[in-house]
Structures are given as C-alpha cells and as structure tokens.
C-alpha cells in the first residue's frame, strides 16, 4: 500500500547524534505514514539503532540535534515513558519480558488495571485474552513467559506494544530468532496492523523479507541517508550497492603478507544453541589459516561468527563438535586456558563485558592472560609486569598517564588496544580478532589496522571477524562469509567485492566461489 502525498505521520528532520570521537548520525531525515511499513537497512554501525534510540527517547533532546515531528508537532521526549505516551513502541532485539511472569502480567506490566491499588486480575486476563485474540494468537494469557519460544515471546512484545495503543511500531531485527512459520505469523500480524493504520519501521538485514513486507526502503550508511524509495521500484542488488557504496579509502595500505604453512585448521565445527536445542548457531564450518595470513570472516550480526570463535577458544565447551588442528596435530580444547596453552589468542567482541576488568589498572588487564608467563608461576613481579606492559603500551600507542591508570577511564580505542596488548603478551601463534574496531574512532582504527599488518608480517596467523566490509576487504588475504551458521562463500583478495560478499551474507547467493 502506498500512501499518497499528505503530511507524514512521523517526521524526523536532520537528526544528528555524536559520541566521543564518532559522529553516529549526521543529518538523517526519515518519515513514516500511517499504515505504512518503512524498512530501514544498512550495515552494522550505519546508525539504524542510534536513530531508533533517538526516536524512542533513550537519548533526550540536547543529546541529539534535529527535530522529531508527530502529526506536524515537534516533540522532545524527556525519556522513554514520554515517547511511549506519544504512541511510539520499540521492540529491541533483546526482549524485555520478565521471564517468571505470565503473558498477561507482562503485557500490562506497570499499568495493571486496579482499584484502590489492588490488581483486578480477572480484568487483566480478560483484556489480555482479547488482545491476543485480535492478533489471532492462540496463547493462554496465564502461561509463564519462560514456557514460550523466542518467536512467541516476540509476538507477545508486539501485543504489549499494541496495548499501549502504539501508533508507531519499531521492529529491530524481529525475525532474527524466528522459525519460518513464525515469520509467517509475524508477517500476517504486521499486515493486519498496517490495515489498522499503524505505522511501522522495520529494521532488518534480511533483504528478501524487507522486499516482501515493506512499502518503502531507506538505506543508511555511515550515519547518513543514502536513499529512500518505494520497495517495488528497487531490487536487492540496488539496495546492496547503496549499503556498501563507500570507497575503500587509503586507510588500508595494501600489504602483501608473506604466507607460510598452514598452522591452524578447523574441520566440521558445529555449535548448538543453548536456548533452542536442535538449532545450530554454527553448522559444519571448516577452514584453515597459514602463518602470516590474515583470514577475514564476514557476515551479518547473528550469523554465528562470534560463536564460531568462542567455540574454537573453548568457551562453549559441551556444545561443540568438530576437530581443531594446530600444526597438523589434532588438539582438544575444552577451556580458554587450554586454548592459550596451545598458542591461541582471542580479542573478544564487547570489550567491556568480555575483555576488561574495568575497575583495574591497565597493567593488571594487560598481564591477566599471560601473567604466569610474565611474572612467574606463583609470585607476581610488579617490575617484570611494569616493564612488559609499558613496552606494549608504547608499541601500541596506548594513550594514558601510566600503566596504573584504571582501564575503565580510557577511551574506547585505548581500551581496545589494552585488550589487544593482553593477548600479545601471551605470545600467541594464532590471533582471533572479533570486531576489533567496533565503536572506536577512525584514528584508533587505523592504528589497529597497522598493528594487524605488522603482526601478520611477524608470521602470526590472524583471523579477523568484522561487520565492516571495507575492513575485511582492506586487510584480509582471504575472506569467508557466514550466513546463519553456514559457510556461504570464500573469496581471495582479488576476487572479493563488497557486492559479492553482501550477497553471500544476506543469503541471496549460495556458495559463490
């Protein structure tokens, strides 16, 4: 359904939003009509989530620039509650349901029908039942949320949003965890809501779904709008071209890495999903890396890249099958400690959660993984540690007063360098990097790129996972592409193009070579 020219229901004008060192949104304009599904697509980090957080009131006015208009009136939300009152409901990827409560309680959480402060249960359940019925969902409102699958939980989130009488519904990757039949149910509901006049913003990496469901498509890249158009006039290659259409600039010096023998190899690695038995996060993946080679692994969020690395590193013990070979010999790795002993290093994604002890000094963080190598088995030597971490700090250009600065006070780029330093101090032979430049500024990115090239030159084998295509293309000698746990493509430096990789990553093209 296309809506004829009338003032849009929602209009976001010239939205800007900066984080220290990064301009996340740079004058983005976006509008939405009643009864329209408007898809928002772009690479990871293009600014989609930030834009939606501005809309949802997560960032309040002086934190962003530009105007949000609903039916022509400027709104400046003081918080998430106010945005909800204005009819905006956002369903984030991470669901916000209370697992131990029932469906009905979750739907009306904080807004339970009550009299003199006493919850009126029969009314609560009646209203919940009606709401679910309207959505053609056959779920008992008294079921505890934890008994429902992820897909059904997603639908409950939508029911909850509708109970707010939401007029604008934002869906962030709603099908990421859904089975095919659940996707059909979801789409049926979205179609019905469209008929009721609800405007929907649909964020997804799965382009075929975007084309199936949406009326218009807007592509974001590097915090800017690169195009808006009717879905029926565009096709997937056109959208992909807009998503990636950025020059791979000079920040990637072309370095020919001297490659040696194969040092590391995995065969038929599979990882099962702890939440959904039977589902595989990684399905039968095999690859090898040579000394001095940089192997890129591309793919979209949720493609199983991080799980693959975690599995190799022994952090998913108990739900991994397959074989790992180092120097041609099969090894068993059931814990990170064993992985380190075999010469593997792993710069994890999400440095705050998995990489750093934020309360502690740079020194303590840098020496954590290699402490026994640096200090000695039982006693720590503050001298040896200072020497090692100061040297590494200088090598990696970590900007801080001293090695005794608390890691949590550093900027993102410097924190990332500390995590890298931690692994270099274990003297690894194979280094895994998971999104090593996420959320850091361009200067720090370039420094990390230079380090990667330098390390490869010393004969280190490097496996680089990144959502940023230019990064993968600019640094890797070979690129693998994962899509929903499967290996869907392999390219050499000369055959890899952003379009081909994106096609494999979105499942658009199977097994290109």
């Amino acid at each position: 359904m296309t809506t004829p020219d009338q003032t849009p229901f929602l209009e976001m004008r010239h939205i800007t939003k900066s984080f220290p060192g990064v301009r996340a949104l740079d004058g983005v304009s976006f509008d939405l009509h009643r009864g329209e599904i408007h898809a928002l697509v772009g690479e990871n980090g293009a600014g989609k989530s930030t834009l939606m957080k501005v809309l949802a009131g997560v960032y309040t006015y002086p934190q962003y620039g530009g105007d949000i208009l609903i039916e022509g009136d400027v709104h400046r939300f003081a918080g998430v509650r106010e945005a909800e009152k204005a009819g905006i409901a956002v369903i984030f990827q991470e669901l916000s349901l209370v697992k131990e409560m029932s469906v009905a309680e979750n739907i009306f959480l904080g807004r339970e029908p009550r009299k003199f402060g006493v919850i009126r249960w029969e009314q609560l359940f009646r209203r919940a039942r009606k709401l679910l019925h309207d959505l053609h969902l056959s779920i008992d409102p008294q079921t505890p949320i934890r008994n429902l699958g992820i897909g059904q939980q997603q639908l409950i989130e939508i029911a909850k949003a509708l109970s707010h009488e939401a007029q604008i519904l934002v869906l962030d990757e709603p099908t990421a965890a859904l089975t095919d039949s659940e996707v059909e149910t979801l789409f049926a509901i979205l179609t019905k809501l469209r008929m009721r006049g609800v405007g929907m913003i649909y964020i997804s990496h799965k382009l075929h779904e975007v084309f199936r469901i949406s009326d218009r498509i807007t592509v974001l890249r590097d915090g800017k709008t690169v195009g808006t158009g009717p879905a029926n006039e565009w096709d997937e290659p056109k959208v992909i071209a807009r998503m990636v259409g950025r020059e791979v600039g000079d920040i990637f010096p072309v370095v020919d890495h001297q490659q040696g023998d194969v040092i590391f190899e995995v065969r038929n690695i599979s990882v099962s999903d702890p939440a959904l038995p039977g589902k595989k996060l990684v399905d039968d993946v095999s690859f090898s890396v040579k000394r001095g080679e940089v192997l890129g692994i591309a793919g979209l969020m949720g493609a199983g890249r991080s799980d693959l690395l975690m599995a190799i590193f022994g952090a998913h013990a108990g739900r991994v099958s397959g074989e790992i070979r180092i120097d041609g010999k099969a090894v068993r790795i059931t814990s990170p400690a064993e992985a380190i002993k075999h010469g593997l290093g792993f710069v994890t994604e999400d440095r705050k959660r998995f990489g750093l002890v934020l309360d502690q000094t740079i020194l303590n963080n840098m020496t954590l993984a290699g402490l026994r190598r640096i200090s000695g088995r039982f006693l720590t030597s503050i001298d040896a540690e200072s020497a090692a971490s100061e040297r590494t700090m200088k090598d990696l250009h970590v900007k801080a007063n001293s090695v005794f600065t608390i890691a949590g006070t550093l900027s993102g780029g410097n924190q990332q360098k500390v995590v890298l330093a931690k692994w270099l101090l274990t003297n690894p032979r194979v280094l895994f990097l998971d999104e090593p430049t996420r959320g850091i500024d361009v200067g720090a990115k370039q420094e990390i790129y230079a380090q990667i090239n330098k390390l490869a030159k010393t004969g280190l084998a490097i496996v680089l996972v990144s959502s940023e295509l230019p990064e993968v293309l600019g640094l890797s000698d070979r690129v693998l592409v994962l899509h929903e746990g499967h290996l869907t493509g392999e390219f050499t430096r000369s055959t890899a193009t952003p379009e081909k990789i994106m096609a494999c990553a979105t499942g658009h093209s199977k097994r290109a070579a």
Partner: protein, 417 residues
C-alpha cells in the same frame, strides 16, 4: 553436570552498554581535591579510615576517663580484634572473588568444639587436638566451596545452610554441654603473651623489614624507569610505620599484669598479625591473588583470559575454612572452654569489617589492610561502649547505624570520585 556456560557468576544479564551513551572520560586516575591538595581517591579512602579509627579511639579515651587507651585495656582490645581480624582476612578473599560466607560463626563453634572434645573427652595431645579442629574447618570450606563452584549453588545459599547445619552439628556433638579446656598449653594460645624482650626483637625485625622493603622497592622503580619517590616521602614511608610498630610494642609491653611483671604482646595478636601479613602478601603479590580480583571484577573476562574460576573459588573457601579453624582455636583458648553457642554472629562481624574497610560486596575490590582497619573499628566500638556501660541493645543499634553510614558515605564518595 553439563559443562555449559553456567559457570558461577558468568550468567550475567547482557551488558546494557549498548543502550547507554558513552560517557566522556578523562584518562587520569580518580583524584579528589581538598583545598589545594590533590590526593588519589583510593589513598584518601584509606586515610579516612585511619582517621576515623583514631577519632574513635580519642573519643572513647576521653569519655572513659582515660581508661580506653591504657595499656591494660588496649591489650584487651587487640586481643578482641584478633578473632574477628583473622576471620576478616579470609572473608576478604571470599568477597573479592564475588562470593560470601555466612557460615563462619558456626564453623568457629564447630571447630572449637571438635578441638575441645579431642583434648578433653578423647584425651589427645595439643597438636592433634588443634589439627583436628582446623581439619574439620578446612573440610567444611572444601564442601561449601565445591557446592558453590562445581554445582553452581549460590554461595549465599550454601553458607546460609551451613550456618544452620554446622551449628546443629556442634550442639549434637557436645550434647549441649560446655567443654572446659584441660590442656594449659591450649589455653595459653589465647591467654598468654610473648615476653617484652621477644616483643622488642619482633619489633626490631619489623622495622628493619619496612626499611628494606621501601628502599628496595624504590630501587626497582628506578630500574624500570619509573620516578623513584622523593627522599622525604621515602623517609615518611619508613618512619611512620616504624613509629606505629614501636609505639604498639611499647604500649603492649608496658601493661603490668602484676606489679613488676610486664605482659608483652598477646599470643592471639601475634597470630593475627602473622595471618594479616600472609593475607596481604597472598592478595597483592601472587598470581593467585591477582586472579581473585579479576574473577570478582569481571568473571567473563577472567574466564576468557584462561583463569579456572571454579578451582579458585574452591581454594578461597578452603582458605576461609582454615582461617575459621585458627579463629576457633584462639577463641576457645581465650575463653578457656568450648560452648555450643560459641562464635555466633561472628560472620556478620567479619563481613562488616570488610565492608567498613572499603570492600565491595560485588567483588573485585578490597584490601587486607582495609579489612583489618574495619575489624579494629568494630572491636573498638564493642570495647569502648562496654567500658562506657552502654546498654547491649543500644550497642547493637549504634553498630548497625555505623555500618550503614560508613558504607553510605563510601558510596557517596565513590559516585563523586
């Protein structure tokens, strides 16, 4: 037991960092400005604690007609601190790792009861009796640590169960009786003193050690290109602790038990100081200690850095058990008998000592020095209020209020810092 990702403490909710805007941060150590002085916030916290202790002492000294800091009472105060202090050192390690042990009071009761039964009803000698008490406590630590680390039962639950169960075991074993100590050598552990001469020898060794450590540390700093501390501050770093050692020894030695007979440092205090030193060394100078802080600070990062979280949690509970055993020996020896309700509420004193000393119950933060200061503050309040004949009910109210206030002030300071 599946080897899934459900290691203790790892099952945290997903980080919310994605939803919160990045904070603008300075790349400097947190500092607090007072007048024109800039002091690192951590050091300020330690100084504040010391000043609070001194203020408490001065207040009690004057409000008790100069009894409080008299050698006799001071000696008593130190002896009272010993049991809580020994437990606080163990509790500190447990809490740093992000765990808790609520059972130590009952374990003290049980270990003391076992040792007393061994020397009394079974007629064992001193060493086997002490060993049996400590062995029981270590065994309990291993069981509780094992349940926490390998079966993933939260430490709070395991040790809450322990608090009840072990007390039940003491009552059963002793049949509700108080068992007197038969061995004089046992009693002397809690009641006697090292003579004044030995006291001075220990003090001299301590002063020499302080000087040597400070100077060699300075040399190490220079060797690694760090700025060595100035001559003046080096001197202060040697002189101040040395004065504390000398003053402490002097005060202890000037207590006359009988006319002309000088006491010296009480045995429990010597044991306590030795354990405190060992604890400080273990937490600050060993890989083991470093790993405990890392596990408490961020279990996910620690695990991915190759640290075996389970083994460390088990070890820390065993150490806690051993120290509860030592505390039980001191306690039983001091009282001269093992009663079935011995050690009640000691777990709370130990936790309070840690917390007043700046330890974070979330794990990852705290020092042995702070825990000892906390133990001294708690014991000083007990002792001083008893001297002032404050009614027991009032004592509890005041101690509770001070605990909450101390942590409240600390949190307020942290937020600002």
């Amino acid at each position: 037991m599946s080897k899934s990702a459900s290691e203790p403490g790892v099952g945290r909710p997903p980080a919310t960092s994605d939803l919160t805007p990045l904070a603008e941060t300075d790349e400097i150590t947190p500092q607090t400005t007072i007048g024109k002085f800039k002091i690192p916030t951590d050091a300020l916290r330690a100084y504040t604690m010391v000043f609070a202790l001194i203020a408490i002492w001065i207040y009690f000294h004057y409000s008790t007609n100069h009894i409080f800091l008299e050698p006799r009472n001071f000696s008593n105060l130190m002896r009272q601190t010993a049991v809580t202090g020994v437990l606080a050192v163990g509790m500190l390690m447990v809490i740093i790792t992000g765990q808790i042990d609520l059972s130590v009071g009952s374990v003290v009761g049980l270990a003391g009861g076992v040792a007393a039964i061994a020397q009394g009803w079974l007629g064992w000698g001193l060493v086997p009796s002490l060993a049996s008490g400590i062995a029981v406590a270590v065994g309990i630590g291993a069981v509780q640590g094992g349940l926490t680390a390998y079966i993933n039962i939260p430490a709070f639950i395991v040790t809450l169960g322990g608090l009840l169960a072990w007390r039940g075991v003491v009552l059963g074993l002793t049949r509700g009786e108080t068992i007197p100590l038969r061995l004089q050598s046992f009693k002397s552990i809690g009641q006697d003193y090292v003579g004044p001469t030995i006291g001075w020898v220990i003090a001299a060794i301590a002063v020499a050690a302080i000087a040597w450590l400070t100077i060699s540390r300075n040399r190490a700093r220079r060797r690694h290109g760090l700025n060595p501390t100035s001559l003046g501050s080096t001197a202060v770093r040697i002189i101040v602790p040395s004065l504390v050692v000398v003053g402490f020894t002097y005060l202890m030695n000037s207590y006359e038990i009988a006319p002309g007979v000088r006491a010296g440092i009480p045995n429990p205090v010597i044991i306590f100081l030795a354990i405190a030193l060992a604890g400080a060394f273990l937490t600050q100078n060993t890989t083991f200690g470093r790993y405990l802080y890392a596990i408490g600070g961020n279990p996910d990062a620690a695990r991915l850095s190759g640290i075996n979280i389970r083994r460390h949690i088990l070890a820390v509970f065993c150490i806690m058990g051993a120290l509860a055993g030592v505390a039980a020996i001191i306690y039983t020896a001091r009282v001269g008998s093992a009663s079935p309700d011995a050690g009640q509420l000691l777990e709370l004193d130990a936790i309070a000592a840690c917390v007043i000393g700046g330890t974070s119950l979330m794990g990852g933060r705290g020092t042995v020095f702070g825990a000892i200061l906390g133990a001294l503050i708690m014991a000083s309040l007990d002792n001083g209020m008893s001297l002032k004949n404050v009614e027991p009910y009032m004592q509890n109210i005041i101690k509770g209020a001070i605990l909450v206030t101390a942590v409240g002030l600390d949190m307020a300071g942290r937020k600002r810092g």
